[in-house]
């Protein structure tokens, strides 16, 4: 088994004439913390969507854990261990924080219709286990106090934490975070960033889209820069920071 956890080849997606993603070859290694950056409209979220199968590519191949997932459905890819969050948080508004987490961690078997009618002692034990794990994660993310609140009542930053918590309930191998720090106050952002670094140290491969360049530079082991759907630079944070093409992409050129 190769060290590449995620790999895309010749991935292209256009929207009505506009090239959203055009990547010849890109891969991500196990245990690395990689940030994907680039100006607005560079195709970062589209790339996430394609890899997590929420959008269909025009052509190209995608591999996760050496398995071809090019035509897989989102939920199947998630079950393989690829967990993603969304730019605009998708918490379950009319469910409590605890329910959000327990749902996430609950197995298919536990969720089944028949299992739910005949509640056995083992399923009760399973639910207890889920609850304990949920509280552990809530404590870790400092949202334990909100466990019985409806998710819609949470602040923007707390919702991001909840989405992260939900992802963690699934023991992800590859955690794809879409702008995890967006709209989060600076203190919380710092805590969150540290948390993400910890997760990486624990062995989770992390792929992060972020606009907060300082944060990116601080914790990333590797940075990939997208502009107009293409990879214009990749390497260590220092390499990328000094790369002319990157500077140009961000400052923008007037002639498009």
């Amino acid at each position: 088994m190769s060290n590449k956890l995620l790999e895309v080849k010749n991935l292209k997606k256009t929207f009505g004439g506009l090239k959203a993603v055009d990547i010849e070859n890109l891969s991500f290694n196990k245990n690395e913390l990689t940030s994907v950056i680039g100006p607005n409209g560079a195709g970062k979220t589209t790339f996430f969507d394609l890899v997590s199968r929420f959008q269909q590519q025009d052509i190209g191949e995608i591999y996760f854990k050496d398995k071809k997932i090019t035509k897989s459905q989102p939920y199947k890819v998630s079950r393989l261990g690829l967990i993603r969050t969304f730019q605009l948080t998708k918490v379950f508004d009319r469910m409590t924080v605890l329910e959000n987490l327990m749902f996430s961690g609950s197995s298919i078997k536990n969720d089944s219709f028949f299992q739910s009618i005949i509640s056995t002692s083992s399923s009760k034990k399973y639910e207890k286990g889920l609850k304990d794990k949920a509280f552990e994660i809530m404590k870790d993310l400092n949202i334990e106090k909100m466990s019985e609140s409806y998710a819609r009542e949470l602040s923007g930053g707390q919702k991001k934490l909840l989405e992260l918590g939900r992802s963690l309930m699934k023991n992800p191998e590859l955690l794809m975070l879409d702008e995890p720090l967006a709209g989060v106050n600076p203190k919380l952002a710092e805590d969150l960033l540290e948390k993400i670094k910890n997760l990486s140290d624990q062995g989770i491969t992390i792929l992060m889209v972020e606009h907060n360049i300082e944060a990116v530079m601080k914790i990333s082991e590797r940075v990939v820069v997208l502009a107009e759907g293409q990879v214009i630079a990749e390497g260590s944070p220092q390499d990328v920071r000094n790369n002319n093409k990157v500077i140009e992409a961000y400052l923008g050129t007037a002639d498009e």
Binding site: P74, Y75, F92, M95, S116, K170
Partner: protein
Amino acid sequence: MKISSKWITTILLTFLSIALVFVLNPDGQLRILANLLTFAGIYALAAIGLNVHFGLTGLLNFGHASFMGVGAYVTLLLIPHAAGREGEINENGLPFLAALAIGIVAAALFGLLLGLPAMRLRGDYLAIVTIAAAEIFRLLIRDLESITGGVYGIINFSDALQKYRPVFFDEAVARLDLAPAQIWVGLLSWLTVFIVLLLLKRLSASPWGRALRAVREDEDAVRALGKNAVWLKLQSFMLGAGIAGIAGVFLAFNYGSVQTTIFVPLLTFYVWAIMILGGVGSLTGPIFGSIIFWAIISETDKIASLIFENADGQQLAGVRFMLVGLLIMMLMIFRPSGLLGKKEELLLNVK
């Protein structure tokens, strides 16, 4: 169960609407009440099924009458009955419970059939598919006359259920000067309502129920968390369809006959109005919604004939349906939580 203001309002309104019926009908009040409560029980059951679709899972089903119809027709065709213009008699049949079980499964399978094309797509598509399917169902029933009796329908099947009436029941009912056959259907309907509610109470608090609520909130997030949203929706759809099937059977036994004019869109709209009135997502909402709705609707004809002097029967019915439409609209706009729905679970901001 704490006594909150919405419960007080609900119970008050229920008594008021029944009182309205009594006031407008000085004679035969017990019989009218019995009739009202029987229909209310049947429709409450149907609304409970719809609530599984819409309240629990957020599915837009506008063909509910066809699920009721499938349950009814399949069950009736399996018990002794007479069908068609000639009243062709089929003497052989299964015992009632066996036929009912098959009818429920048939309704659930019909739900699966309808759900398959639509569940992968957005909610609006399901609405359109269910309306279309209900129309196809209606046309099939009408045209497959050799099986379903077409416009002449099916009759002479009541015995399969009525023969289970205990003697003491008949005596008690006779003393009240009521029709035992109808009371029997009413009793069984309400019994089923309570059994189904117990089942659903357990299910909504269970992991399965939790999963459906998550689907209702955000399907994409559900998928991103490794769950098969489409299959979950299909399961919910089948359950609600099965419940509707039972309601359809009871409706048939209440009428004593079925034909093409029963399982039509208007039936679906009634059930929708009742569900919204009772409170979307509330388990017991359909019960009160149904009673209040029937009390008011049964009196609209009298009110309508006061307003319009020369109205014919069809136009009087028109008033009734106008009110149904208005009720649905007003509730959705001003009080989508209905009587007993949870305010926190208001539909207003679900996109």
